[in-house]
Symmetry: D3
C-alpha cells in the first residue's frame, strides 16, 4: 500500500516559462528511459521479487522514489507551460493574433490535450507503453537492465541539461543527474551483493550452463574479412567467468550445411510450392492447425490412460 505526502521530493521551479523546453523534456517523462519507465519497471520488479528483506525493500524504496520523480517532472513541465512569459515585450508579441501559426517546436498537445500540463508521452509525442519495461523475476538480469536504464536515462538528462540556461530547471536536473549516478552504482552494487549472497557465481546469467555449446560460449565470430574487431579485449584473453580463453574466428563460415528452408507446405494453406520437397503433409482442414489438434489430443489421451 502507498501513501502520499503533498510536497515534492526536490523543488521544480523554473525561472520562467519555456514551452519548447517543455516539449523536449517530455523525453525525460514518457520516453523509453524517462521517469515513467523506471517508476513502472521498479514497481513491477518489486512486486515480482521473491526475496523478501533487503532486496525487495530496496527495490520498493527506489520504485517509490521514482513515482515522486514523475511528480517532479510533471510539475516542472506545467510551470514551463505557463501561459505567458514575464517580460513585457514578449507578452505584447504573444498578444498578437497574427502569430498564431508560429509553433517552432512547441508540442500542440500541450495546449489541446492537457491544457498546459505534461503528457505521458515522449519528446516525439509517442505514448508511453509497457513494452519499455522488464521484470523477469531474475534479479541478476533485472539489475543489469536497471544499470542500463539509469545510464541511458542519465545520458538523456545530461543532454537536455545542456539545452537550457534556466537556473531552476538546471537545479532540478542536477538532482536527477546525481540520482542517476547513484542508482547506476546501486544496481551494480546489487550485483556484487547477489554474488556475495551466492545467487550468482560471477555476474553472468548462466542458467542451464551445463548444457550450452562448449565452443560457442567463448568464440568471437567475425563476418567481415576486413574487420579489425580482433584487436579488442573481447576477442582475446580469458573469459570473465574464468573458464576459457576467447577464440577469434575471422571471416566466419557456416557451421552446418543446413539451408534456411521450411518443409513442404500444407496444400490447404495455398503457400506457393513446386513440389520439390515432396508432398506437403496436410492436417485436418488447415495444415499446422491440424497438427496442433493432433498433439493436444494425443497427449491428453496419454494422460487419461
Amino acid at each position: 500500500m502507498f501513501k502520499h505526502v503533498d510536497y515534492l521530493q526536490f523543488q521544480a521551479k523554473p525561472e520562467k516559462p519555456d514551452a519548447v523546453l517543455a516539449a523536449k523534456m517530455q523525453e525525460l517523462v514518457g520516453g523509453q528511459f524517462g521517469e515513467m519507465t523506471v517508476m513502472m519497471q521498479y514497481l513491477w520488479q518489486g512486486w515480482s521479487c521473491r526475496v523478501p528483506g533487503k532486496y525487495k525493500d530496496m527495490i520498493m524504496d527506489i520504485a517509490t522514489e521514482e513515482i515522486g520523480h514523475v511528480e517532479m517532472l510533471t510539475t516542472m513541465l506545467a510551470r514551463l507551460l505557463e501561459g505567458a512569459p514575464n517580460e513585457a515585450q514578449e507578452k505584447a508579441a504573444a498578444a498578437n493574433p497574427m502569430l498564431g501559426a508560429v509553433m517552432g517546436g512547441m508540442n500542440f498537445q500541450h495546449a489541446i490535450v492537457t491544457g498546459g500540463g505534461a503528457l505521458p508521452r515522449d519528446a516525439a509525442g509517442v505514448p508511453w507503453n509497457a513494452g519499455y519495461i522488464v521484470a523477469s523475476g531474475n534479479l541478476l538480469s533485472d539489475f543489469r537492465s536497471n544499470v542500463a536504464a539509469e545510464a541511458q536515462s542519465r545520458l538523456m538528462t545530461s543532454r537536455v541539461y545542456n539545452m537550457t540556461d534556466d537556473r531552476g530547471v538546471k537545479d532540478m536536473l542536477q538532482f536527477n543527474l546525481a540520482r542517476d549516478t547513484y542508482h547506476q552504482q546501486q544496481w551494480l552494487l546489487g550485483i556484487e551483493q547477489l554474488i556475495q549472497d551466492g545467487f550468482t557465481e560471477n555476474g553472468i546469467e548462466d542458467s542451464n550452463a551445463e548444457f550450452e555449446h562448449p565452443e560457442a560460449n567463448h568464440t568471437f565470430y567475425s563476418f567481415d574479412p576486413a574487420s579489425r574487431a580482433g584487436e579488442g579485449r573481447w576477442a582475446q584473453g580469458p573469459t570473465l567467468n574464468g573458464k576459457d580463453e576467447i577464440v577469434y574466428v575471422p571471416d566466419a563460415q557456416p557451421l552446418t550445411d543446413d539451408k534456411p528452408l521450411g518443409p513442404a507446405p500444407d496444400p490447404k494453406l495455398f503457400v506457393t510450392y513446386d513440389g520439390q520437397m515432396g508432398k506437403g503433409k496436410p492436417g485436418t482442414a488447415a495444415g499446422a492447425t491440424g497438427q496442433g489438434v493432433a498433439n493436444v489430443v494425443n497427449k491428453i489421451k496419454g494422460a487419461l490412460e
Copy 2:
C-alpha cells in the same frame, strides 16, 4: 553493404513438428529481447558508432551474426509448424475434422497469416516494434544496454529450453545459450576496453558530473519506515567511483517545501481553476501556445539585430 550465404550459421532441425512450441518460441524471435531486437539494436549502434576500427567493426560483426540468428529461428519455426507429425496415430487424429476447434495454445496466425511460417511477433502475438531498441551513440551506455539484453535474452532462451524434449530444438538452443553467455561477457569486456582506452573513467555514465547535486549522488533514500534496504551493500561502504561513502537515509522526507502544483492556467484553455493563484496569464488565443510564439519571435528578433 551486406552479403548473404545460403547456409544457416547453425543447424535448425527439430525432431518433429510441435506447433505449440512454435507459439512459445515466438518470444525468442519477436519478443522484447528476441533475436530481432538484438539484430536491430546492434545494426543501429554499429551505424551510429563514431569510433571506426575495432569498436565499430566489433559491433557490425555481432550485428551481422544476429541477422543470421533470426534466420535460424524462422527456419526452426517453419519446421515446427509442418503440417502433420510423424506418428501414424497422430496423423489419424489430425484427419478427424471434428477436432477443428481444439487449439490448445496454437497461434492461429501461424496458419491464417503466414501459412506455416514464423511471425515477426512475440509469444503473445504482439508485433515487434523499434521502441525495444536503443542506440544512443554513447558506447558505455549502449554496452550496458547490450549486457542487459543478452542476459534477458539468455534467460528467456533458458526457460524455453526447459519446455521441450526435442533433441533438435535443444541442440540449436544450446548454441544460442552459448552465444548469449559469450556476448554478455563481450559487452562487459567492451566496457573494460572503454576504460582502458580512456573513454570512461570507471564505467559509470557521468557526463556533466561536475554539475550534479553533491549529496544526492551517494545517498540511499528509503520511503518505508520498516524497510530493511539499509542492510545491503548499496546502502553502505564506498561508492563504485571511489568518491564518497554511501549515506543511508531511513524514512526519507521531502527536501523542499515546494508543492506539486501548476501555475494559474490560461482561461482560454478551460482548465478548472478557482483563482487562488491569481489570474492566469493568457497568451494569444491559446495559452502556452501563445507563449511559444512569443519566445520564438523574441529570440529571432535578437538574432536579426
Copy 3:
C-alpha cells in the same frame, strides 16, 4: 448496410490555407477523442447492441452521422493544406527555395505521405488505434463512456476553436461544438431512459451488487494525513444509490496483514530466491506451465467420467 450521399453534412470551407492549423486539427480527426474515435466507438456499440428498436437505432444513427464528421474534417484539412495562400507576397516568399527548411509546426507527413490530405493520426502524428474505443454490450457503462468522449471531444474542439480566426474554420467548429453539446445530453438522456425502462436502478453499474464488500462500497479512504479531501461532497452525505452514508477514513491503514509477496518459485524458471518460503513447486518442465497442464487435464478427466 450503408449508403453514401456526395454532400457534406455541413460545409467545410476555410477562408484560406493554413498548414499549421491543419497540423493542430489532426487531434480532432485521429486523436484519442477525435471523430474517428466516436465514429468507430458508436459503430461498434451499435453492432454489439442487443436491444433492437429505439436503442440500437439511436446508436446506429449517431454512428452514421459520425462517419460524415470524419468526412467533413478530412475535407477541411485538405483545403487548409492547399499548396499556397492567396496573398501575393506570401506566394513570393513561398517561391523562395532558400526557405525550404523552415517548417514551423507543419506536419511533414502532410506533404510526404498524403500529398496534401489529412492523416488518420493525432496532432502528435500517432496513428489512431482501436485501443481508444469501448463497446462492452452494457449500455449503461457504454453511455457513460460516450458522455465522457463527447465532453473530452468538445473540450479539444473548443481549445482549437480559440486558436484560429479563420471564419470558415470557426463556422464548421461551431457546428461541431453544438453537436458535442447535444450528444453529451443525448447519452445522459439515454441513461435516464435506461432507468425508466428498468435496465438500471439508479445509473450505477452494480452487477453482482449482492456480493460486494459491505463497507468498502461507501467509504472514502485517504492516504495523505494532510489531505483535505474530506471537505467534499464525495466524503459525506448519502451515497447516490441511497443505500448508505459515506464514511470518510483519514490516513487509511492496510485492512490486512497480508504482504505483497509471490509464492516460492519453480526452480526451473530461474527466479532469484533464497528458499525462505520453502521449496518451490515445480510443474512439468516449466513451472506455472506445468500447472496449467495439470488443471486442463484434470478437469477434462472430470468431464469425461
Copy 4:
C-alpha cells in the same frame, strides 16, 4: 512524494493456483480499464489539477489507493501462477512430461517472460499504453471519464468474478467491486460539487457555448428512414441544460451543397489530378510545405515591423 507500507490494502490469497484464471485476470491489471489505467489516469489528473485543496487532495488520495490496487492484483496473479496445484493427482499429471504442449488458455509469457509473475499487459497480451488515459485539466470532462472508467472496470471485474469459484479470489474481487461502486458515485458526486462550487452550470461541458451553432445543439438527426430512434427520451422533451426543446429530424439531409473534395493539388506532390479544378498552386518545392514556409515568414515579418 510517496511512501510505501509493506502490507496490501486488502488480502490477495487464492485458495489454489489457477494459471488460466491468471491469464484472464490480466485484463484487470493491464487492460484498457485495468488498475494500471485508473492508477495512471488519477495520478496524472492529480498532478494536472489546478484547484488545490479538496479537489486535488481527493484525486491524489484515490490515485494513491490505486497504486496499491495494482499491487494487490500483481500479488494475486503471482500466487495463481504458483508452480503446481495442491492436490496430489494434479501434481502427478503435472509431472508428466508428455503434457508439455497442452496449454489450454495459459499465457506463455507468464512462464517465459516473468517467471511466474503478472504482466503489465491485458488478457490478450497487449502491453498497457498511455493512450488509455486522459487528463485534460478540466475537472468536469475528466470526472466524466472517471465515472466511465469505474463503470467499465467494474463490469469487467464482475464478469471475471463469475468465472471462478475460488473463495480467495472472489473475496478480493468483492472488495474491488465495492470500490468501483463507491468510486463511480464519488466522481458523480464530484460533478455535483463542481456545480455547487460554480465550476459548471449544469454538468455539460459547454465552453465557448455562446458561439455554438444554435440549432445543431438540440437536434437529433436520423440517417436511416426506418429508424425508431425518435421514440427515446433523447429525441424529445427539454434538453438537460434547460435551454431548448429537442428536435427530431428523420431521414436527415445534408445541410450544405458543399461536396467532399480537396483543392487542386500541388503538381510537385504527384497527386493524381485531371485539372478540372484549375491549376494547382505550387509552393516552393513541395506544395503544402511551401505554404507553411510562407505563413511563418509572413507572420514573423508582421511581428517585427
Copy 5:
C-alpha cells in the same frame, strides 16, 4: 454524408455457435488485411481523391460497401459467440462448473470485454491501428496497394474458409471470397483506366523519372555468389516500361568507396569518439539542435532582406 439501412448486405447466419472459430475470424475483422483495413483505407482514399467523377465515386462506392462488410463480420462473430450450443450433451458439459479453465483457443476478451461480441482486434488480440492503411493521393500507387490488400485479404479468408464445416459461415465467406476476386480485378482495371486516361504511361510509378540514376533503374544486383536469381524473367529481357534491357550483376560490389560513418560528433552530446575525424562541430548547447537554429534564422534573414 452517409446513411444506414438496417439490413446486412449478405446474410451472416452460422449453423451453430463456435467460439474458437470466432477467435480465428477476428483476423478477418481487425487484422492487417481485415475488413476494417479496407473500409478505412478506401474511405481515406476516397476523401483524398482529387479526381471527382468516376474515380472518386468508384472509391467511395467500394468504401461504403466495406463498412457493411465489417457489419456482416461483427454480426457473424456475435452469433458464433452465443452462450451455448444447441445440442443437449454440449449444454450439459457447459453447465459443469469444473470446466471453467478449459479455454482451448477461445479469446478471453470475447467474454470479459465485449460480453459476446466481436473485437476491433486481430486473431492475436492486437488492436487495429491506422498504420495498416495507405492513402497517398496518387491513384496508381494506391490502386497497387489496393490490389495487394484484396489479394492478401482473400488469401486469409480462403484459409479460414478451410477451417470450418459450418454451412452458414461458409456461405458468407463464399460471398467475401467472390468480392475479393472481383475487387482485385477492379483495382487492376482501375490501373488500366488510369493508363487510358493518361494519368500514367505504363503503370509504373515514375515521377521525377528524368532524374533517376540511369543504370540502377534496370539492374538486378545479386549479393550471394551462389544465387540462382539470374534465371528469372526479372533478371533478363526488356524492362516493363520498354526503355532498357535488364542487366544482371552477380556478386555485386559496392559502387563507392564511401564508408558508413557519421561525422565527428558535437562534444556536448557525449557520443563516444576518439577524435580521429577531427574536432566535432558544436552548435549552441546541443549539437544538431544548434545547427537547426542556425538554418532557420539564416533562411528567415534571407527572406526578410
Copy 6:
C-alpha cells in the same frame, strides 16, 4: 548467414548539414514504406519462401540489398545532423544561446536520444513496427504487396527529392528512385514468371475459386444513387480472368433480409437486453466461455472414443 562489407552500396554525402531535412527523411528510414519496411518484408518473405532456387534467391538478394539501403540512409542522416553548418555566419548564429528555443521542424530526439544519428522511426517520430510488413507464403499475394510497397516508397522518395537542393542528397535519392523503378518491375515480372511457371493462372489470387459466390465475383455494387462509377472500365467489359462480363448495379440493395443483431446474451455477462429474442443461453459461469468449454470437451470426447 550474412556477411558485411564495410563500404556503402552507394555514396551518401550531403553537401552540408540540414537537420530539418533529416527530420523529413526519417520517413524514408522508418516510415510505413521506408527502407526498414522493405528490408524486413523481403527478409521475412525470403525466409518463408518454399520454392528454393530462383525465387528464394531473388527474394534474398533484394532483401540483402535493402539492409544496405537502411545503412545508406542512416549514414546520410548522421551527416545531415552534423553539429554545425560550414558557413561562418551560420556558425555565429548557432553560437547565440538566445536562440535555444527555435526548433523549426527539427526532431528533438535526434539530439536527445541518438546524439546525432538516425532514429528507427518515421517523420512523425513513431517507432517502426512489424505491423507494416507482410509475408504470407503465397508468392502472388506477396509480390502484389511488394509492387505496392515499391510504388509507395518511390512516391515518398520522389516527394522528398523535391524538398531539397542539396546535390549530395539528390544524388543518393536518384539512386533510390532508380532502384524503386526497377524493383516495381521486378515484382511485376515476378508475377509474369509465376504465371509462366504455372503457380497462378492469371495473376488473380483465387484459391478455393470453385466455391465462391457465382455473381458477386463480377459485380460492381454502387451505394450512392448519384454515383458515376459506372463509367469506368471496372464496371463494364470482361473480367480480367476472362470468365465473366462485369455487371454494374446502381443503388445496390441488401441481398438478404437478415438484420445485424447478435443473439440473446448470456445473463451472466450483464449485456443490456430486454428479452425480446427469448432467454439468453447461459454457459457455465460466463456465457461464450462456457460454450468454448463445451466444444472442446465434446470434440475431445469424440476423438477418444
